[in-house]
């Protein structure tokens, strides 16, 4: 698509995007430098542990961007984005499992360990192909994408909106969680997939790989961000905002609203999938917990906290909350929930526009405060 180059490159001319990318790249560079150049024990040395941690944050950041795309610009509050994240993660996890080959504890050439000791005889059909990287990576996009396509097609066609939409997205992820918990499903049940060995033939445990994954995530975040910016800065993005604020009006202008919603929803789901895929090799496990509705709500909280409808706000929110979680669970293990809960309450009450609202810099068009009108309120 020749035309696409122009719309894709559009955000690169925006000040906000340049600032964001600059910041991100700088951060990546600094971390890499501090990790490689400085000797361990040096006060400023960034340990591999920290690098992996940051890698995880960046995955969450990408996920948050995906959510902000549908919530902030389309007005669709998805309480089920964790499902897309997890599906992407499982696709990657299945690939990594197949990579273990016969190095599992039972040394079975094909079957993953959990299948061996629940004595499955052969590989279930949906596990085939995941030994090929390209297929697995394709699935990382397709699995969440198709789910979003089907679900969104039904929901938007019958014009399910507002809280009803939110709740059925929640039902979706909840149902998937229960399904993946079932051992009959062949996804390792509650234990999920773990004990990964290597990715694309590279040992996962080496510091180099970890740094690589971290950087890869950073790049993915940058690309994802640019893509989302490109979408929201395009005329299509304006149609989204139009839909969010006056759906009927948009219809009378001749836009097939449900299809725009579907398109953006699917794109967002795929981004979430990518985030999940990058998340799994870094934390070393994927299990149905990622499907839990509470997690999906947490994602929304990151976005709200960072400031919805700004994309970079989502990133900030994800980073802050998860950093806070890491610190609190270590520093005040018995009381960290107070701190986190308090944080949520205070920010929502005191900063309706989130942290982005605090930042001096604003996009030329102020973030819509239409969230205060009753109609938009219940979305």
């Amino acid at each position: 698509m020749l035309a696409s180059r122009s719309w894709l490159s559009r955000p690169l001319h925006e000040r906000s995007t340049r600032l964001f990318l600059g910041a991100l790249i700088a951060a990546l560079a600094v971390v890499t430098l501090l990790n490689l150049a400085l000797p361990a024990g040096h006060p400023l040395h960034v340990s591999t542990y920290t690098v992996t941690l940051l890698g995880k944050y960046l995955c969450y950041a990408l996920l948050a961007v995906a959510v902000d795309l549908v919530w902030g610009y389309l007005g669709i509050l998805s309480l089920g984005h964790g499902a897309f994240f997890a599906l992407g993660g499982y696709a990657m996890g299945m690939y990594l499992m197949r990579q273990i080959g016969d190095r599992g504890v039972y040394g079975h050439p094909v079957l993953p360990d959990f299948m061996v000791f629940l004595d499955w005889q052969s590989l279930p059909w949906y596990w085939h192909g995941f030994d090929m990287a390209w297929f697995a990576f394709l699935m990382v996009l397709l699995a969440p994408g198709l789910l979003a396509l089907v679900f969104g097609f039904l929901a938007f066609r019958s014009r399910v909106t507002g809280v009803y939409l939110s709740i059925i997205t929640q039902a979706l992820t909840f149902a998937l969680m229960l399904a993946f918990f079932r051992n009959e499903m062949g996804f390792g049940g509650n234990n999920g997939l773990t004990d990964f060995k290597e990715l694309l033939g590279v040992d996962l445990t080496t510091d180099a790989t970890r740094l690589g994954l971290f950087l890869a995530t950073g790049v993915a975040l940058a690309l994802g961000y640019v893509l989302c910016r490109a979408i929201v800065a395009s005329k299509l993005g304006r149609v989204c905002v139009a839909t969010r604020d006056a759906e009927a009006r948009t219809r009378f202008l001749g836009y097939r609203v449900e299809r725009f919603q579907l398109f953006v929803f699917v794109v967002s789901a795929m981004l979430a999938g990518v985030a999940g895929a990058l998340y799994v090799p870094q934390v070393g496990i994927i299990n149905p917990g990622e499907f839990s509705p509470i997690f999906s709500i947490e994602i929304v909280l990151w976005v709200a906290l960072g400031g919805r409808g700004t994309l970079y706000g989502a990133v900030i929110g994800a980073l802050i909350v998860n950093y806070a979680k890491t610190v609190f669970t270590g520093v005040m293990p018995d009381a960290w929930l107070f701190a986190l809960g308090g944080l949520f309450v205070l920010v929502t009450v005191l900063l309706p526009k989130g942290i982005a609202g605090l930042l001096g810099y604003r996009r030329p068009r102020r973030p819509p405060d239409s969230s205060t009108t009753p109609r938009e309120a219940s979305t």
Partner: protein, 279 residues
């Protein structure tokens, strides 16, 4: 691989939904044709056996007391509400009852709401840009560029509705009157064959009303215009033919002076109208 492709140009997935862009056929008579249309909301008959024809290029005013079914009629024409019975034709080719809002809109029927609805978060310019007649499928919209000719068209309309200097202000901050204008502007951008205008001058100053009147009368001719209005003064100033709705069906139709003499009309409407003016 072809899965990838289908993802790449998703808008083709729904080819069957893409409207047939065929010109409205008005060689045999009216552009809009309602016959025996009836609709009721849980028991209450909003529209009852309504018959109405609008000729190509006509400017028609529709008046009637509150609850006469004016807005419901517009909902039916634009596909927002489905009637229980009756036929609604656009030209002699398009049965509107088989289409949804976007399809009807893309046929060239533009509508202005009673309560002005613009996209508050978007600027005046963007509002108009969205409204402009263009390929409104997904990828074209995604890759759309605002070309010079698009700009000039928008400029042109902005001057007509007098919002040039506000072009980069979000619609949210416009005054009520300005919003009305912006919405009319959006209609113009659609280049519709038929405009449905619901109470265009509510909350407008005298001269604003005059300009609106000029605008609408100016439009008539190349486009057909249906105006629903309470303000009798305004109606008199633009009306050629007037249709009086009462309890969901046509009470009287004809030139303003005739209609206003019709005793039934005086009773059900003008009487009420008098009260309103008192209130």
């Amino acid at each position: 691989m072809n899965v990838l492709k289908s993802l790449a140009d998703r808008d083709r997935v729904f080819d069957f939904l893409v409207p047939v862009e065929s010109p409205v056929d008005v060689r045999h008579g009216p552009i809009l044709y309602l016959e025996d249309v009836t609709v009721s909301f849980d028991g209450f008959r909003a529209i009852e056996r309504l018959n109405l024809t609008i000729d190509d290029g006509e400017l028609r005013c529709i008046i009637g007391p509150n609850g006469a079914g004016k807005t419901t009629m517009m909902d039916i024409i634009t596909g927002k509400t489905r009637p229980d019975a009756g036929r609604v034709w656009f030209g002699s080719r398009h049965d509107l009852l088989t289409m949804n809002e976007p399809e009807i809109a893309s046929l060239g029927i533009g509508r202005k709401f009673q309560k002005p609805t613009t996209f508050e978060a978007l600027t005046v310019f963007e509002n108009l840009e969205l409204a402009m007649a263009a390929d409104k499928r997904i990828l074209p919209t995604l890759t759309a560029r605002t070309t010079g000719e698009v700009r000039s068209r928008i400029e042109e309309v902005m001057t007509t509705i007098g919002l040039v200097e506000l072009r980069h202000r979000p619609a949210g901050i416009l005054s009520h009157g300005q919003k009305q204008w912006l919405e009319i502007g959006m209609l113009l951008m659609q280049r519709p064959r038929l405009l449905l205008v619901d109470e265009p001058v509510a909350g407008m100053t005298e001269q604003e009303m005059e300009r609106t009147a000029e605008l609408l009368t100016g439009l008539a001719g190349q486009q057909s215009v249906v105006v629903v209005e309470h303000d009798m003064g305004f109606v008199r100033s633009i009306a050629r033919t007037v249709t009086v709705l009462h309890q969901g069906s046509v009470l009287a139709e004809g030139r303003m002076d005739q209609v206003s003499l019709d005793p039934r009309v005086v009773e059900v409407y003008l009487g009420a109208e008098a009260d309103e003016e008192v209130a």
